[in-house]
């Protein structure tokens, strides 16, 4: 075995095909796209090189700053929201509902299988003020408050978006974390209880550390997904009002395909790639340290 794997020709034969396919469908497009970052133009006029102009524009463009800020705050809030809500649901399944949790689990998981566009429309109707008054505004009116135009300002539209995405995905994280919780041996919990730990103390000192690995993978899942958010924003607000809820992905899409500025769009995509890389590295470092401790 060692002789075969030590032979460079064998390595080349074994890895070659996979490496070739990987290069063709992953590396070549990435490098190609990177190349577009140094050009300007579109498919009609053709592309001409413009050096690093796109990069200096990236640093001066206030829209990029807004989009980056939106993406980061969105990713942070939704990640915390959906993992915490998911974890609470999972605790509910395991410690309170116990074996009868199947129905609640199904109900909480239901939004996950709904198409994003459908959820977007649902929330639009739910929070709308005109032409019909939505349920939320009806409720506000019923308690004597004025209707709020939730999609009229970036601030309130942002919170509706956050709420929608947490609601939409907490069922998924609940099931993921549920799997981690049922993995904790009953004997461990039993002996902890015998030692007098119960309620919050049991969770804080026994359950939380033991489910840390699966919590970490949930975090990585979540951050990766939320940094690349696109569909739910398009479905709910389409980036508006103005560009108040435009993440980097949508700004990149608009720049490339609506304004037909492929070079600059590619530069924005590169920025997003770098951000994803940095955040992933950070999470990876933290999670490695935590697992060794746990």
């Amino acid at each position: 075995m060692h002789r075969v794997l030590g032979d460079r020709r064998a390595i080349a034969i074994l890895l070659g095909p996979a490496l070739l396919v990987y290069s063709l469908i992953m590396l070549v497009p990435i490098v190609w796209s990177l190349g577009y970052s140094f050009t300007q133009g579109n498919t009609i006029e053709g592309f001409t090189g413009n050096g690093g102009a796109n990069f200096s524009r990236l640093f001066e463009d206030p829209a990029v700053r807004d989009a980056l800020w939106f993406t980061l705050t969105y990713a942070a809030l939704v990640t915390v929201g959906q993992v915490v809500a998911g974890y609470l649901l999972a605790l509910l399944y395991v410690f309170f509902l116990k074996r009868s949790s199947a129905l609640i689990r199904t109900l909480a998981f239901f939004p996950v299988v709904l198409p994003t566009v459908a959820v977007g429309l649902l929330f639009q109707k739910f929070f709308q003020v005109a032409p019909q008054t939505g349920p939320v505004n009806s409720l506000l009116n019923a308690v004597g408050l004025d209707s709020i135009d939730f999609f009229g300002s970036a601030g309130s539209a942002f919170w509706v978006l956050i709420l929608m995405d947490i609601w939409r995905s907490m069922g998924f994280y609940a099931v993921l974390l549920f799997a981690g919780l049922v993995d904790i041996p009953d004997e461990v919990l039993e002996s902890a209880r015998l030692d007098g730990a119960s309620g919050l103390r049991l969770i804080r000192h026994i359950v939380l550390p033991l489910s840390l690995p699966v919590l970490m993978s949930s975090l990585i899942f979540s951050i990766n997904g939320t940094l690349k958010v696109f569909d739910s924003v398009v479905a709910l607000t389409n980036g508006g009002p103005g560009n108040g809820t435009t993440p980097l992905t949508l700004y990149m899409f608009q720049t490339s395909f609506t304004y037909s500025d492929y070079g600059y769009g590619s530069t924005i995509a590169l920025l997003l790639t770098v951000v994803c890389l940095l955040v992933s590295l950070a999470v990876y470092r933290v999670s490695r340290r935590d697992i060794t401790e746990g």
Binding site: V28, F151, Q254, T258
Partner: protein, 438 residues
């Protein structure tokens, strides 16, 4: 080690060769699809948008009737895409040199001009002249197209629209309101309606353009017909005080609640509905709305209760009330390479017959001459047609001379201007920035 090096180098070399080969493959693939389209077209292929049903229905009717001969030689084939993805589709097709014979030419004139610059759009003035049908186009429509497309006839006038304010005659009468002649009278009328709990205007903030049109018409009335040409030429900025004033006036209407609740989430159809159900007294729109106004199923207030008035004058302004914002709808143009004799037959048949077909079957006004007598559906239609024939000078709309980016920025931020979430100066600054950025 020294024996193994060549292997490694060979592996690296083969990887490099593979990468080069793949590049070559991709390049030739692009070239391949491009060479096919220079041949004479086999169909009168027409790329349209899903939203516009008039042109394709009228053309289909003509292909079976008056243009049967042209259709037998070159059968009509209609393909549609949603209007929001039209620009992307055109760019892709143009990049592959695979544009259809006739196509809706992008949401902003800027894209058509780009296509024309790279020689993909036929020079219609020359072609129509040699076909002997240039006189079938209404001069007003031709001048509007030329104003939009840098002095060239680059699209056909399948639609010809002027814009103004449609109003509910009954609501005006009940509240003893005369047709406003000046902006101040219009605002006063709105205040009067609002006091009686009638929503003065209906407008779509989701689409945005119904709001920015108010802004540009105010500019044309206050600063004269060259107000936005100056901005396009860089001689004036949207942030100049007299331009910001217009934004303040429109924002003022919103601030007083004259557009009703949640204008940002009102889409075009809902805005139209509000007006046609008598829930709003005024509706700024182009005459394409006549199709909805004439439709008894949609129009609950009755066509006889709908009036049409020009956007009022601004006191002391340089513009005049008989200058109408006009457009030719979504421009439809023809590809340069596929324009041959058979295509020419189709085009001359369209030029001679489209005007009357569209007016008779759809009540829609086009920029082609109406060669057979057609009765108007109602008084509003007559009034609009009369206005078109009397109009002295045409002006464009707010985004007409803008880039695609500035157009999007202006339309997506318009709702914020009237809901108060964006200050007038900030709105004009944002649009100006998008303009300057190209």
């Amino acid at each position: 080690m020294s024996l193994r090096m060549p292997h490694a180098r060979r592996a690296r070399l083969s990887l490099f060769t593979a990468a080069t080969a793949s590049l070559a493959l991709v390049t030739t693939a692009c070239g391949g699809s491009g060479s096919g389209s220079t041949a004479a077209p086999k169909e009168f292929s027409y790329l349209s948008v899903t939203e516009n049903t008039t042109v394709k229905t009228a053309l289909t009717a003509m292909s079976k009737g008056v243009c049967k001969a042209a259709n037998d030689a070159l059968p009509l084939k209609v393909e549609t895409v949603p209007q929001t993805s039209l620009d992307q589709k055109l760019q892709l097709l143009a990049g592959q040199d695979a544009l259809p014979v006739q196509f809706a030419a992008g949401n902003a004139p800027a894209l058509t001009q780009q296509l024309a610059k790279s020689g993909k759009v036929a020079d219609l003035e020359k072609e129509l002249k040699s076909l002997g049908v240039l006189d079938q186009l209404e001069p007003a429509a031709v001048s509007t197209i030329k104003a939009l497309y840098g002095g060239k006839l680059q699209v056909l006038p399948y639609e010809y629209n002027i814009e103004g304010i449609f109003y509910n005659k009954k609501l005006f009468q009940e509240n003893a309101i005369a047709i406003p002649g000046t902006w101040d009278e219009l605002v006063a009328a709105a205040a009067k309606l609002d006091a009686k709990n009638v929503q003065p205007f209906s407008a779509s903030g989701q689409q945005g353009w119904p709001i920015t049109r108010l802004l540009s018409t105010y500019l044309y009335r206050s600063l004269g017909p060259d107000a936005l040409q100056k901005v396009a030429d860089g001689k004036a900025k949207l942030t100049d005080p007299e331009y910001v004033k217009a934004a303040e006036e429109i924002a003022g209407l919103g601030k007083k609640g004259y557009f009703g609740k949640g204008v940002g989430s009102i889409d075009y159809d809902t805005a139209m509905n509000q007006f046609l159900n008598g829930k709003a007294a005024m509706f700024y729109m182009g005459n394409w709305a006549l199709a909805n106004i004439s439709d008894e199923k949609q129009n609950k207030v009755g066509a006889e209760n709908v009036g049409f008035m020009p956007f009022p004058a601004v006191s002391g302004g340089k513009g005049s009330i008989d200058q109408y914002p006009s457009n030719v709808g979504l421009g439809i143009t023809l590809g340069a390479k596929s324009f041959d004799k058979k295509t020419g037959d189709w085009v001359s048949c369209i030029a001679k017959n489209y005007g009357s077909t569209a007016l008779k079957n759809h009540g829609s006004i086009s920029g082609f001459k109406v060669n057979t007598g057609v009765m108007d559906a109602n008084d509003v239609t007559t009034k609009v047609r009369k206005t078109i024939s009397e109009s002295k000078q045409n002006v464009l709309w707010f985004e007409a001379l803008f880039s695609t980016k500035a157009t999007t920025v202006s339309q997506t931020n318009a709702a914020g201007l009237v809901t108060g979430s964006m200050k007038p100066e900030a709105f004009m600054q944002t649009v100006q920035d998008a303009l300057t950025a190209k």
